[in-house]
Assembly symmetry: C2
Homo-oligomer: 344 residues x 2
Amino acid sequence: MASIKDVASEAGLSVATVSRVLNDHPSVSEDARGRVLAAVQTLGYRPNAVARSLRTDQTRTLGLVISDVMNPYFTELARSVEEEARALGYSVIIGNADERPELQDHHVTTLLDRRIDGLLVSPTDGGSPRMLDAARAGTPMVFVDRWIPGVDVPVVRSDGQTAVRDLVAHLHRLGHRRLAIIAGPAATTTGRERVDAFRAALREHGLELPAAYIGQGDFQADSGRRVTEGFLDLAEPPEVVFAADNLMALGALDAVRARGLRVPDDIALAAFDDIPWFVHTDPPVTAIAQPTGALGRAAVRALVDRIEGRPGESVTLPARLVVRRSCGEPVPPQSPSPVRRSTP
Amino acid sequence: MASIKDVASEAGLSVATVSRVLNDHPSVSEDARGRVLAAVQTLGYRPNAVARSLRTDQTRTLGLVISDVMNPYFTELARSVEEEARALGYSVIIGNADERPELQDHHVTTLLDRRIDGLLVSPTDGGSPRMLDAARAGTPMVFVDRWIPGVDVPVVRSDGQTAVRDLVAHLHRLGHRRLAIIAGPAATTTGRERVDAFRAALREHGLELPAAYIGQGDFQADSGRRVTEGFLDLAEPPEVVFAADNLMALGALDAVRARGLRVPDDIALAAFDDIPWFVHTDPPVTAIAQPTGALGRAAVRALVDRIEGRPGESVTLPARLVVRRSCGEPVPPQSPSPVRRSTP
DNA sequence: CTGAAAGCGCTTACAG
DNA sequence: CTGAAAGCGCTTACAG
């Protein structure tokens, strides 16, 4: 592969001059520029980004350590992150933690070894030492979706409190009184917050959230299945199951179906995170939609701000309730909500 | 950030010796090893992968240029690729082409500039010049899922011919005679092959595939919606719509639903690519399942073989029909197929 | 077993 | 405007 030296000799100039035209440095003669460009053309030369990074100490690359790429919510988040990063001239390397702390650690380490310019992370747990060290050492970093309290890093997330309240009000109005939740891991903020919001909302209606109605999941489908089976085995099963993410809702649907029961007749279901398929499931699933694309874009902007020496602030965007039919409600009066890739 | 020099002076040794213990070179004294390791420990030193790559001319990184990450099939493919790569000691950088040739080109260029050791691609079109040049120049490369004829690169893919034949036989048995297809882009192999397989299978039953029953899609949901609307507007609409991927099937469901029609009563639906949600859609969707995880793993193995100087062969794995209820069939006698992340 | 030195492909003060 | 040279952080023949 041709190097800058080859271009220099082809153009009859020094590598310094070649480098200058490649980097749009102002002081280059038109003649030199022309000869360099021609040489680049004939040799099919492309600068070696590795060498450039070593020299300039910047890779123009962002690392994104995400909890689980197979989760449609995170897939969309990753996509919007990459789009915004590209628009700002950065590439992104995704590390899929698969909800496993040791995998998350592996990716953080690998990314740091590669000297990425900044790190976007949605922590799977309370924060690995490696990650906390990096934050303390001043690596530009921002948390997306999930965050770690006590760490001085901006966080870009969605606030589901109002939407959860709307959901509970909706359920209450439909006559449901025994409400259960499939929670995410207590080590994650979203795992805790959604339960807290749910409990607080129930309290507003004078309702309790008994321990038996809090199932411990891990944001993956299998756990939704397992927890739902447990609920159905209860002497007094809940009337509604609220899954704290879309994959656990999938698992819940599997479990209900495996028993030959029906949603919402035998048990109602709602989910945190909306996905296009929820429009077509049997029945369509009532869900809380996050402004996923906007979150990803805001996170990148905050991170790039940090990288380039600007403040880089935390952002909280509201989520909203999308009522469909999985809780037993009649079809809403307005026309069916259209499917779209991202929530506005 | 500490460099190898810092470690050397901390340990009272040369950088050469430090490098040797870091790379497990045999000729290092136990004493030296101990001192280096201690220095590494106290400084929290991590080797700079950028510098190492420049020197060794290998990045231990694979590039994966994928047609569309938001498509669950490709998400799963990407996931299995990353897993297998990690097991073999490689990282992977994903470039999402979003079915747009110019974006594909952008990623191929970026990846090549970063000097990835090998490229895995699922081409969006007939092949960009940059990609063909790279292949010709000897960049280790393998095609996954889609490929470009005439280019000397191994291809790892799934053969859906038999499954499509099974599907058509199944449809014919159910009495359907007017079968339509929502095709993928003609520039892609999967876009063409699936139509060809469908047409060939129809012929075996003495059926035609009229031009009006071939809708041109682009593997994205919107196109499935648009094409389906066209089918429904026909004087003699088809009895079955076969979507060449799962996103176009989603679009087709949207279109049917928007008209107030029902699947399969008013029109039957089948899809290429199976996803967990198809079990829970209304009705459950009959689909052709690819061995996605196995494809991803085989592709990585073939690529790493090439990188490390071994042959690296093409692999073709069979897809299989999964009958559910979207074509009007009665519930199959066996128990409902369980949901799983990957098809065996 | 260990170290001095060259070199990977760039960029960028420093002179001229 | 242009070039010679230093240096980014490593690895690896080459001596000893």
